[in-house]
Symmetry: C2
């Protein structure tokens, strides 16, 4: 019972491909969300937000942060408020532009993110481990082609 349940043999091949892609994404995303919640009192949008900050040590403006988040469902302002309250990020005006609030990870935020990221990577490696490495590599390549086709369109 997943997204593919919707597919019928007379559907176009592109539709069957999409429903399978969605089914695979959901099969990975659902347990990931649950584990993040259980083990870190975190959530996927929160993890995603901290991941973006970790890649930008100089911080990101609120607007940039919203744009970079791919996991939907997270209210960025609310998430940032919560992380500020927990001492994991700071949000401050820059000297150049007093109106633009820049969000940065604190040292504790960086530490907390790294622990989550390590576990996250272990879960993914474990979940995808059932597929032989050569097939994973081929799948990665083909999805690269799909991505190029999607962004070119």
């Amino acid at each position: 019972m997943d997204a593919e349940t919707r597919a019928t043999p007379d559907d176009h091949q592109a539709l069957r491909l999409w429903l399978r892609l969605l089914a695979c994404t959901n099969l990975i995303e659902a347990p990931l969300r649950q584990r993040l919640r259980e083990q870190f009192e975190g959530s996927l949008p929160r993890f995603d937000l901290m991941a973006q900050l970790e890649r930008h040590p100089d911080g990101l403006r609120m607007g940039e942060l919203s744009q970079r988040l791919m996991v939907t469902g997270g209210n960025v302002t609310g998430l940032v408020d919560q992380l500020v309250a927990e001492g994991l990020v700071t949000r401050a005006a820059t000297s150049r532009d007093r109106r633009a609030l820049v969000v940065k990870l604190t040292a504790r935020g960086k530490e907390s993110f790294e622990a989550m990221a390590g576990e996250h990577e272990r879960w993914i490696v474990e979940m995808l481990g059932g597929l032989p490495a050569a097939e994973r590599e081929r799948l990665h390549e083909l999805l690269g082609g799909l991505k190029r086709a999607l962004t070119a369109a």
Copy 2:
């Protein structure tokens, strides 16, 4: 700027594969959600719910319906209330078990769903059309292997 922005060369190959899979799903899902909203005043959870009912002409109980929905973010009771108000579904007790409410598409609901489903398929065919058919076929096969590995784990 997408889920893959998070990937670094020293990440495990499984993690890079997952981030690319997520990026592709988002690249298809985001415009789909937007088009459904714009053209049908619908939403992806609503479409998904009606798709499940369309496959079950005898109706589904509320509990079964919740289990079958893969697109998260939809409150099933709220969605059903709304569809009942619009005359697109009915929700009624069965003669066998007065406590179990069964949800069914009305004739108008079926018609409305079919119009959405046709457009939905055309959008998918258009979006994935940039990838040659042979690559789509190979991707479909490889994702089938991934799905089997994920459900076996």
